[in-house]
């Protein structure tokens, strides 16, 4: 279980996190949504010990990330699929990660299979498409067989087959009792995949509820989608909004 409590952070005058508090429970896929600049990525980076919060804490099973021994065995994560050295092969990229956690090459081959990358394992990662890099990132996240997963925009750049694969994978991981946090802008995908949604805006949590509950209590229509709910919730929280093309006329 990942718990985030009262996180605050400022970047040179702009408030990035303003008392962010929520929990990611095991056995569920938790969607993490909010407008651009709402603090989703910063929160994930704080959870992973990459950024330091000015106040508050983010704990994995009660421990700060930086205190974990072999952290990839506790939390698997995918932040930026492009963040790899292009000259190294996919397999070697996973290999050094495995070695950093005391894992063997056999485990690397297992996750390569799981991510469907076996055929391209010995190709330079620099030549991969975004979708393939996402699969490589997922493989890295699964490497330590962790009870919790943190995935930032995993659907990005995936082909339709990949999206279906990703959806099934996330469901399966939750079904195995893992805690899965997925940030995404694709409400339709989350409506299909997520059990629970945390909606954030301007560095705080706006809503933290089961998807079913949100849909049920949505004002207006019976056929409300997660997208409608999201837009209603974040109406006042969006920092940048284009002029509605219909009204601009």
């Amino acid at each position: 279980m990942i718990t985030v409590h009262g996180l605050r952070k400022r970047f040179r005058g702009t408030v990035a996190l303003d008392g962010m508090t929520f929990a990611v429970r095991p056995g569920q896929v938790t969607g993490f949504v909010g407008p651009n600049g709402a603090g989703k990525s910063t929160t994930m980076r704080v959870i992973l010990g990459l950024d330091r919060a000015d106040a508050g804490d983010a704990l994995i099973d009660g421990h700060p990330y930086r205190g974990l021994r072999d952290p990839l065995r506790h939390v698997g994560s995918l932040l930026d699929a492009a963040a790899l050295q292009p000259g190294r092969t996919a397999r070697n990229h996973l290999l050094w990660l495995a070695h950093s956690q005391g894992l063997t090459a056999r485990r690397v081959d297992e996750v390569l299979d799981q991510a469907g990358l076996r055929a391209v394992a010995r190709r330079r990662a620099g030549g991969f498409s975004l979708g393939m890099r996402q699969r490589l990132g997922i493989a890295a996240a699964l490497l330590g067989d962790p009870p919790a997963l943190l995935l930032d925009e995993p659907f990005n750049g995936m082909d339709p087959e990949g999206i279906v694969w990703m959806r099934r994978l996330l469901r399966a991981l939750a079904a195995e009792g893992r805690a899965v946090l997925v940030s995404s802008h694709l409400m339709s995908e989350l409506q299909e995949t997520a059990d629970h949604v945390v909606v954030v805006g301007r560095g705080k949590v706006i809503a933290d509820a089961p998807v079913a509950h949100l849909l049920a209590t949505a004002p207006g229509a019976r056929r409300a989608t997660l997208e409608d709910v999201y837009l209603a919730l974040t109406r006042d929280e969006v920092e940048f909004r284009a002029v509605d093309p219909a009204r601009a006329r």
């Binding site: 990459l50 790899l84 990229h93 050094w96």
Partner: protein, 243 residues
């Protein structure tokens, strides 16, 4: 620490540039040593020069490649963003830097030994009959290792490989150049004592040790201080900064 070391070693081993750079260190060192030795046409043992040092001149060329190799070890991670993956896998940042330092030191040492021995051998064939001083050979290997650590520390602090390689090369060569144009002999000596390259290379001096501005091991000590300072700065910034 063990797994961090294992990971860093795998990373360096599987990085496509490493082998090429290591070979470049050896080739540039031995090659320029040979060129310099050949260009110095003097009677065997009788040209009043420090022949051991002369045949190790290539170290001053090879060190540039060593610096680039070391800068790349962390600099490339910064430029690709992979450093975040690394720090997610190994959240103890000082451990990461320490592991990198060990791996860099090891790889540079393994590369420097053939480079230095090759230079000495070539020098001995071109200018036969001079005595080879072991201290100069061992010192040159240590010198290159320390240059590698200096590069690693600088790159960690600068977080940009291009800027880092510029800074390291500037740091290495600025002192000798300034020392050459400074008119005051006292200041010149001080500059040569303080510069990482001019002080560190004192370890190669075998002839008239008094003519060198700083003692051989003290000079290497000065370079060690530079490397430590760079690593410390890099370590502090790495630990403090958001990745």
């Amino acid at each position: 620490m063990r797994s961090a070391l294992h990971a860093e070693w795998t990373k360096l081993r599987t990085s496509p540039g490493t082998l090429g750079l290591a070979l470049a260190v050896i080739v540039s060192t031995v090659g320029s040593s040979a060129a310099v030795a050949a260009a110095t046409g003097c009677a065997p043992g009788g040209c009043g020069q420090d022949l051991t040092r002369l045949s190790l001149t290539g170290v001053q060329v090879g060190q540039a490649v060593v610096a680039v190799l070391a800068v790349l070890v962390i600099g490339d991670e910064y430029s690709t963003g992979m450093v975040r993956v690394t720090l997610t896998a190994l959240p103890r940042r000082t451990t990461v830097l320490a592991a990198k330092a060990v791996v860099v030191a090891g790889v540079v040492a393994v590369t420097a030994v053939p480079a230095v021995l090759g230079s000495l051998t070539v020098g001995w064939f071109i200018l036969p009959g001079h005595e080879v001083v072991p201290r100069a050979a061992v010192g040159s290997v240590l010198y290159l290792v320390l240059i590698g650590l200096l590069g690693l520390g600088t790159a960690t602090a600068a977080r940009n490989p291009a800027a880092a390689s510029g800074i390291v090369l500037g740091l290495l060569y600025v002192f000798p150049i300034i020392a050459q144009v400074v008119t005051d002999p006292g200041w010149r000596r001080h500059l040569q004592q303080a510069g990482p390259m001019s002080a560190g290379l004192a370890v190669q001096a075998t002839g008239d040790v008094d003519a060198v501005p700083i003692g051989p091991w003290q000079g290497l000590g000065v370079l060690t201080l530079w490397a430590l300072a760079a690593l410390l700065t890099g370590g502090l910034l790495l630990a403090r900064h958001d990745a």
